[in-house]
């Protein structure tokens, strides 16, 4: 294959990378995401048309018959094509975009589920705000029932972040000192991925999360389990390591070891999909890896290295955390 051919092939492959998988806006799982895709394709096709129109006119200006060139030079065409046409197209697009995304039927009415998502360097604090006033805290994972109106309160603990689960809805910034409201409905069950979409410091690229849409019944039983205190495991050797090393200073195990609050809640950490905000799988081996090497796995993260833990202590701790289901 010639060099230019392989270049084109490589470039086309790059274009395709964002088109598939669990972190793609091209796989909409709900009405809001549908709109984003619809808006996207309208713009791509519409502006492709504008692009070819402009290129055609350029061609005429350089190499067209002299009559056409005279026609193109006239003040009327310059005002019409150069001023009126773009103003109409761009204004129309702006108004239509606002109408499409802004005047959603979801904007009114009471949401079925309220969740506060707080961006922090570099993880997500996810708190379910239940109707009876109870709060259920988890991290790096948003579980929702399908077909229900979800309202996210987006806040930030430190700097600008942006919540973006492309398969569910468009992105929205998390601004310190301000609450942004994001409403959406997801119709297709499934697990998708999200990512912080606003540069927020060193480990920004490692600030991912999972979105899990499940049927209502499964969701209710999950929420009930999630709001329960942690399993006691009072004789677990790893629990002793957790307690004595002071993990509870930052990470709460609800009903047992606290106060926590500044790091992710670990009450049911063993049942989550990932570790370190979407960057490691969730199993004993990954817990152990995280403890031994997290300053290298996620450089700059706020957790001290705890380099004095022995291999045995790390293994016990990993087993304990994995057992916190």
């Amino acid at each position: 294959m010639k060099r230019w051919q392989s270049c084109i092939l490589l470039f086309s492959a790059l274009l395709l990378t964002a088109c598939d998988g669990d972190q793609s806006m091209f796989r909409p799982a709900g009405s809001e995401a549908d709109k984003v895709v619809f808006l996207y394709w309208t713009m791509v096709i519409g502006f492709a048309f504008v692009f070819f129109l402009v290129m055609g006119l350029v061609l005429i200006a350089f190499a067209g018959p002299s009559q056409w060139r005279v026609w193109l030079q006239s003040e009327k065409q310059i005002i019409g094509l150069g001023l009126v046409f773009p103003v109409i197209v761009l204004s129309g697009l702006l108004v239509w975009g606002y109408l499409l995304l802004g005047s959603s039927s979801l904007a009114n009415g009471k949401p079925d589920l309220k969740i506060r998502v707080e961006g922090a360097q570099w993880w997500w604090r996810v708190t379910y705000l239940l109707e009876d006033g109870a709060r259920v805290e988890t991290a790096n994972e948003v579980r929702i029932p399908v077909g229900k109106l979800i309202e996210l309160e987006l806040v930030s603990a430190d700097v600008l972040h942006s919540f973006w689960v492309p398969a569910w809805t468009g992105k929205m910034d998390m601004i310190p000192g301000h609450t942004n409201i994001l409403r959406f409905v997801v119709d297709t069950p499934g697990t998708v991925k999200g990512q912080c979409a606003e540069y927020c410091g060193g480990a920004h690229a490692f600030m991912s999360l999972y979105g899990v849409a499940i049927d209502e019944q499964t969701f209710e039983s999950w929420l009930e389990a999630e709001s329960a205190p942690a399993v006691p495991l009072s004789q677990h050797p790893g629990r002793q390591v957790y307690l004595s090393t002071g993990c509870g200073a930052c990470h709460q195990v609800r009903g047992q070891i606290g106060p926590g609050g500044s790091g992710p809640d670990l009450t049911h950490v063993g049942s989550r999909l990932s570790l370190g905000a979407g960057i490691l799988p969730n199993d004993t081996e990954a817990f152990e890896r995280w403890m031994a090497r997290h300053p290298f796995i996620k450089p700059g993260n706020r957790m001290p290295a705890f380099g004095f833990l022995s291999d045995l202590e790390r293994r016990q701790l990993a087993r304990y955390l994995d057992a916190l289901e």
Partner: protein
Amino acid sequence: MRVSRWRRIVWVGVSAIAVPLVVLLGAYSGIYNVAASVGHQTWFNWLLRLGMTRSVTFHSSGEAPPVDLGDLHRIRLGAAHYESRCASCHGTPGSSVNPVFAQMLPSPPGLVQRVPEWQADELFWIVRHGLKYTGMPAWSGGDRPDEIWSVVAFLQALPGLQEQEYEALAAGNNDADADAPSATELVEQGAQTLARGACDRCHDEPNAVPISDLVPILAGQSAEYLARALYEYRDGERASGIMQPIAAELQDGQIQDLANYYSVAKAPIQLTSLTPPRDGSAAADATGVTPGSVSDLAYYGNRQARVLPCIACHGQNSRPDYPKLGGQNAAYLGQQLRLWQKGGRDQTAWGEVMGTVAKHLTEQQITSLAEWFAAQGSSREASQ
């Protein structure tokens, strides 16, 4: 005219070569007598002194002494260090300079007489950096200005001290039970090199409190923590011009012996670990209600200010290599927290954790937390 200009150029050229050559030959010939017993020519001595005093004044400007320089706890700590490391060369009230060191050239000045010639910042600079070609070493314990100021505090008090007053300061409280085995005796069974009274001089006998609030109480502290501290001093991972030279002479077995000895010793103030809260519901509230009191800060921290709860690590269930803090001297605790804030104690895996914690504390929080922890010890007399 032309000739005389050429002559001048030749003269300059010859001198430029000849003068260094003569100096080099002079040094090589060995004619100059370097014997300490002979001393320098009066004029040369005057020149050296001028250079030295001017250099100290020039370089020391800008070191502002702490406002509480005259604090008795500083003076006591400085006195104990002076007695162990400085007195043999520089003398004490009532005793002159050791005859061996008096034969050094320049002979170490008797500081009782000579200290008033220097300002506090100049003394600080000399103790910290030492003096070239005089035998005066630089401070051996890394960046510990707090310790050096203690020495300066003592030096400034030194000229006014009577012999008995000095003895009382430098020998510690010494109200210990004579029958109790001393740490020194314990160690001396194994190491002749360890200076007598190395531990007691500052920490005093276990059944007394340390001579200064800047010195930690050791009796009743966990053995694992004490051993870790001594290893860190010995291996240069924890900076202290006072502790590092002492720990440098210890072997592993002696470190373990000392740690065990102090951990079971009975102090007048019993070091304690506090019970951590079982559940953090009080502080984990997502609205981030800020707890107000110092004890709330110690038990629950303050999430918004990123202050972590002390008791989570320094509580009853804590690892034995974490220290007990209840009852510890407030001035010592505060000083260590300030060291951590400046990055002076995060060279070890343990220190790194505490460094993360300390950097979010305010000066006000450091003072009040140190005092709060100091008040949490139980008095042995009261509990009996």
